[in-house]
Amino acid sequence: ACSSSSRPSSNPSDPSGLAASPAPSLSSNNTSKPFVVSTVIEVDTVDIDKSTWVDIANSLIYEPLLNYDDKGKIVAGLAESYSVSADGKVWTFHLKKNVKFHSGEPLTADAMKTSIDRFMTMSPVKDIAGPVDKIEVTDPLTVQVYFKEPYAPFISVATSPFLGPIDPKRVAELGDKFENNPSSVGPFMFQKHDKGSSISYKKNPDYNWGPPLLKNQGAPYIDELTFKFTKDDDTRVLEFKKGDVQMLNGVPNSYVKDLQNIPNVEFIKALEPGEKYLGFNLQRPQFQDVRVRKALAMAIDREPFVEVALSGYGQSTFSPLPTTIFGHSDKVENDAKNMYARDVDKAKALLAEAGWKDTNGDGIADKNGKPLSIELVLPHNPILERSAQILQTQFKEIGADLKLSINELAAVKDKLAVGKSDFDMFMMYYDYTDPDVLYLLFDPNTNRMRYTNPKLTDLLQQGRSTMDQTARAKVYKDAQEILIEDLPIIPLFSEETIIATRDVEGVIYNPFSTSFYLNDVKWKK
């Protein structure tokens, strides 16, 4: 079992203590030890077409058509190259040669078509692929995706494992049970899913089609890879500290300091492609007055959010798209910063202008005898809960009384859904690798703020169909300018995704696609 160690040397700081034993067995000891990754939420399935989200734990057997590099540029993946037709309706992908499924079958354009078709029929999230019309195979290694309308965000789907090919032969064999023994072309091969506790993989020895952004484009160095699902943060961290786990995915920020003291621990920190924001229920009379919205925005000091709620691991944001999403504009960000920098006096003045004054001396502004009392709906989430508490004290300073209503995420979504309007304000987050997220967030029919602005809607439509990257960026800049002026939402901050590794090196994380690459991972000497 320990024959094909591609990893050249052993690990002297092996915490198991085995390292102390004499030489020859050293390397084999270490190679037989799986690389253990601890994550919080267990993926429901490893069948990507059934899953609602991609996660490191179910994506490493798959391989995307394209990749982002560390600057957010598109580079090759399984497709050596791609092109989009002038009308934006046909995307053509040219596949690499000599790519093999784990079962040994070769990757062909036919297999690719089957995979995309399967995704488009089965996946619960098929909508993200946009208005796909049909898939056509033009030669054994060329596949074309036809759209009914131009759909620029398809690029971010193409860079996700969702459209990664799956082995058509295996699908034919297993059908719905594909998840029991999935086969694709990724660097790792499925071994076992212990429902409720772990998933284990072994390396794909034949792999040699790694993307250019990797040093090692061949088979991964590590032989075995295990994902362990542990919901409780404290226990996860303790496990990591003990050395049972080599990679901690999603380190709770309050633990970072604690973990820094451990030798051989490294952190990967990257800003998430998303942000936490406050949304107004614009049907509420008090929020229909933009002065009130602006006053509240000015009451906010984002510093403590980052310092306390994120323990310093994050960044304040003033514009709707953070730096990690294509379409982010420094100018908009700075404008917003200038407009909404914390200014309690100005905020109070604005409120007073809108008719909200503290007439009875209880510290809460009121208008027509009604105090400025706001119910903030937010889901269960430690960071949001802590932020909300800070927000509470900040709002209090300008005379707004914030009441928190914390619920399960599903209940919150239900509460915010169009058709119901039993809330004043909400605190939510989004996480999306494409600026099209603004379209989704501000869809005039479904948006939670009940915000309508035909100009914005037009712009966001345009953003979908503009294939030229520069032109597209301009569209989103304009859209964001409208948003910071109208202020249906108040962006708050973006969190840093923190990954801690121990005794290993070479973990690569790409914030633009939020994907991990473990091909380069080696045990540290």
Binding site: D44, T45, K50, T52, W53, P124, V125, D127, I128, D176, K195, G196, S197, S198, K228, T230, K231, D232, D234, T235, R236, L238, E239, K241, K242, D244, H380, E408, L409, A410, A411, V412, K413, D414, K415, A417, V418, Y430, D431, Y432, L440, L441, D443, N445, T446
Partner: protein, 304 residues
């Protein structure tokens, strides 16, 4: 005859549970579609999904469907992953069951022993310390004790794995934590019950016969005193089978309790329904079992 009667009562209780839980679950706000369809579902997609899952039907129709399936032993399948509820239970229950068994064993041994020792010399130094210890044990929150134990035994001393399920050793610490908490209650009940039994006239008869002290306690008194202890053990065991939610969360054991919390947060209705039903069934079966165990201790109970 008795068994039949018990079974009929059991079925009617379960029937009640099924209605109760069905209504309860359908009152839960939050659409499973919101969970399944990710962050930005389109309204049409939600509608389609609900139609597919049968959630757009009138409640009564849904219930009838549910109850007929139930009659065929089918608890349904997860809305999200499509796994059958039975297979989920089959996955998770062994851990819960083991945890329940081990902690009950711990609780019984410690609790009964402490109770007996305390009762033999009431108001002695020994008795008082046991009573106080059990009161403290009763008053300390499990989650707190569990944290302390993890910190000390798993982290500082590295005696046990910190979390997750990895065979027997993973269950040692949670079993001890749960077992100790229960032992506190059992010790109290065992003590009271022993004190009561020791007061009984038949214990005087035993002395009058010339029976030795130990024989009196273990042959004459203990069996009598076990009756309330068994009741309590049964109740505790039944609750444990429902999953010791707190312990399962802290120790990250993928048992029934954890599954339940997950299912609730995902609004996975069939799982919630199936689990609660299963839990009630287990609870009722435990009670049935306890009834029969009674008989070992108390011949007065007559099952015809």
């Amino acid at each position: 005859m008795y068994l039949l009667k018990r079974l009929i009562t059991l079925i009617s209780t379960l029937f009640g549970v099924s209605i109760f839980i069905f209504l309860l679950v359908h009152l839960i706000p939050g659409d499973p579609a919101h969970y399944i369809l990710g962050e930005f579902p389109t309204p049409e997609a939600i509608k389609q999904l609900n139609a597919k899952l049968g959630l757009d039907q009138p409640l009564l129709v849904q219930y009838l469907h549910y109850i007929t399936e139930l009659f065929h032993g089918n608890l349904g399948a997860s809305l999200i992953t499509g796994q059958s509820v039975w297979s989920l239970i089959a996955d998770r229950f062994p851990i819960t069951l083991q945890l329940a068994v081990y902690s009950t064993v711990v609780a019984t041994i410690i609790g009964v022993l402490a109770g007996v020792i305390a009762s033999v010399k009431p108001n002695s130094w020994m008795d008082r310390s046991i009573v106080l210890a059990s009161l403290v044990g009763l008053s300390a929150p499990t989650f707190w004790v569990a944290l302390l134990f993890i910190f000390v035994f798993s982290y500082k001393l590295s005696l046990f794995p910190i979390s997750g399920y990895n065979g027997f050793q993973s269950l040692v610490l949670p079993s001890i934590v749960l077992g100790l908490a229960e032992a506190a209650t059992i010790a109290r009940v065992a003590r009271t019950s022993m004190l009561d039994v020791l007061q009984q006239e038949y214990m005087r008869t035993a002395v009058a016969k010339g029976v030795h002290g130990y024989a009196r306690i273990f042959q004459h008194a203990l069996k009598n005193a076990m009756i309330p202890v068994v009741t309590l053990l049964g109740l505790q065991f039944g609750s444990l089978l429902a999953g010791a939610v707190v312990a399962e969360v802290i120790f990250s054991l993928k048992g029934i309790g954890n599954l339940m919390i997950d299912a609730i947060s995902k609004r996975d209705i069939p799982i919630i329904q199936g689990l609660v039903f299963f839990v009630a069934l287990m609870f009722a079966l435990t009670n049935l079992l306890v009834d029969f165990i009674y008989r070992i201790f108390d011949p007065r109970i007559n099952y015809e």
